[in-house]
């Protein structure tokens, strides 16, 4: 095959992948059916608010963590490719979770994390809160994404929402490892504060929105079926495969 044809095929494949969400009759979880976080989320603290001081303290804590191993992990957590995210959660679950080893789980998580972002997005747009690096005009520890995220709202945190959603769903699949899974999900959110992309209150709100998303998912028959399949896949893998080393 000529290189130009190969690139065409690759480009088409990527575009199809980017269109990611299936729009089919059974997929009733459209944007309008998700919870509208702005309906029950409080407004983020204004910079003139005394409550902002907590966010400020956490922003400084985040900066102090950047040149440490925890800071390096935070940079990795910023990469929201499902393969990277799952690599982290694999240790908590006790088996390798990849698109190859657990395809149903990966598809489930990719799909529903995207849907969860709909719940957060309206609130983001409504509040239009400036990210810490935008507000303070200071560098983050993930320089290459600064331009992309610059115009987007900070509150609530999409990463924190997705991380907590994954934690809750994996806990349901592996309740015997819930503490480790939820602890990892907690840290996933805190990484956003460390890299300077979010205030602590953005991350707190993200976790809160996540729980409302998971409640909505469970009201959907398609989700329940897909979740049951993913659970069977993971449980089978846990029973038949060797466990990976626990996450540090």
């Amino acid at each position: 095959m000529k290189m130009s044809s190969l690139y065409c095929h690759l480009g088409s494949a990527l575009m199809l992948a980017a269109a990611s969400l299936p729009v089919c009759a059974e997929d009733i979880l459209s944007k309008n059916q998700m919870t509208q976080a702005a309906q029950f989320l409080p407004a983020p603290p204004d910079t003139s608010d005394l409550r902002f001081q907590s966010d400020l303290a956490q922003y400084h804590w985040g900066k102090s963590m950047r040149q440490t191993p925890r800071g390096e992990r935070a940079i990795k957590d910023a990469n929201f490719d499902i393969r990277f995210v799952f690599k982290g959660f694999s240790g908590a679950v006790g088996t390798e979770l990849t698109p190859e080893t657990t395809p149903k789980l990966c598809r489930l998580m990719t799909k529903y994390c995207k849907i969860a972002s709909y719940a957060a997005r309206r609130a983001k747009n409504e509040y239009g809160r400036k990210r810490p690096y935008v507000l303070f005009d200071e560098p983050t520890s993930v320089r290459k994404e600064e331009a992309y995220y610059y115009p987007t709202g900070s509150y609530p945190s999409g990463h924190a929402t997705a991380g907590w959603v994954i934690g809750l769903l994996l806990s349901e699949i592996c309740p015997e490892r819930q503490d480790t899974i939820m602890s990892y999900a907690w840290q996933f959110g805190q990484s956003r504060v460390i890299v300077g992309y979010h205030f602590q209150s953005d991350v707190d709100a993200g976790r809160f929105v996540a729980s409302s998303c998971v409640a909505r998912f469970h009201a959907d028959a398609t989700f329940c079926k897909e979740m049951a399949d993913a659970k069977a896949e993971v449980r089978h893998r846990l029973e038949t495969c060797q466990k990976t080393k626990p996450a540090q």
Binding site: Q39, F40, G167, S171, Q178, W186, S211, S212, A219
Partner: protein, 238 residues
């Protein structure tokens, strides 16, 4: 001992057990996730983050002599009947043992799981309640004696309120935003009455999400949830 004495003795024994149906839950305490392991420690009073807790405690006091303050006092009763009553309007249906028996059974047992879900962390940290720390009165003075002996972090009421909100939103997604909004306010009521810090309440909602996830991994819970959903569908003519 004659029959009357026996019955009297039994009645006393049952009432001393308290309002919480601690024996009535889907899971055991050991089954529940341990918040000490997945949540951070609360902010100490010399931590800059404590300022947020102090600001919110002060805010709570300004709300007490308002209609919202009255609601906060009503929200202080920790029982399935009281908590679910607070959701009737948001849910769009009266939640009771007579009107929605399956849902009521679900929530009664889930309340027990909520108590179990906060027990370990509360006792581990034994954080002092704000009214106790400041030597001031709360808006629910009758609860103060028992609350002094009960750790503040995380908030048990908030865990219960947010758990109820998540379950009711799952059963009635058409009214999810109203239900969740009420669930959110239920937690804030604890700050208003002065028996919890904001960080206790924020943590309580996270514990609730973990409790609900754990319950969804339990067959008996899922069976009861299915009954509650079917009951709701039948009653709302779906």
């Amino acid at each position: 001992m004659n029959h009357t004495s026996t019955l009297l003795f039994l009645a006393m024994a049952l009432s001393i057990g308290g309002q919480e149906a601690r024996g009535d839950s889907f899971l055991t305490r050991d089954d529940m996730p341990n918040a000490v392991n997945y949540l951070p420690v609360y902010p100490y009073t010399d931590d800059t983050r404590y300022l947020d807790d102090w600001v919110q405690y002060s805010w709570g006091k300004t709300v007490r002599n308002t209609t919202r303050g009255q609601q906060a006092v009503a929200d202080a009763i920790y029982s399935v009947s009281s908590i679910s009553k607070g959701f009737n309007a948001a849910f769009g249906m009266t939640i009771s043992s007579s009107n929605t028996p399956e849902l009521y059974k679900l929530l009664t047992k889930a309340l027990g799981d909520c108590s179990n879900g906060t027990y370990v962390a509360k006792n581990y940290y034994m954080r002092k309640r704000p009214f106790d720390y400041y030597g001031e009165s709360s808006a629910t003075p009758n609860d103060e004696a028992s609350l002094r002996k009960n750790g503040s972090y995380p908030s048990g009421h908030t865990t219960a309120g947010w758990t109820f909100a998540l379950l009711l939103a799952e059963i009635n997604p058409a009214r999810q935003d109203t239900i969740l909004s009420r669930g959110y306010q239920y937690g804030q009521s604890r700050v208003i009455v002065g028996v919890h810090y904001q960080s206790d309440v924020t943590a309580g909602r996270l514990v609730a999400s973990a409790v609900v996830a754990r319950l969804h991994a339990d067959a008996a819970f899922m069976e009861q949830l299915k009954k509650a959903k079917a009951e709701f569908a039948a009653k709302s003519g779906m």
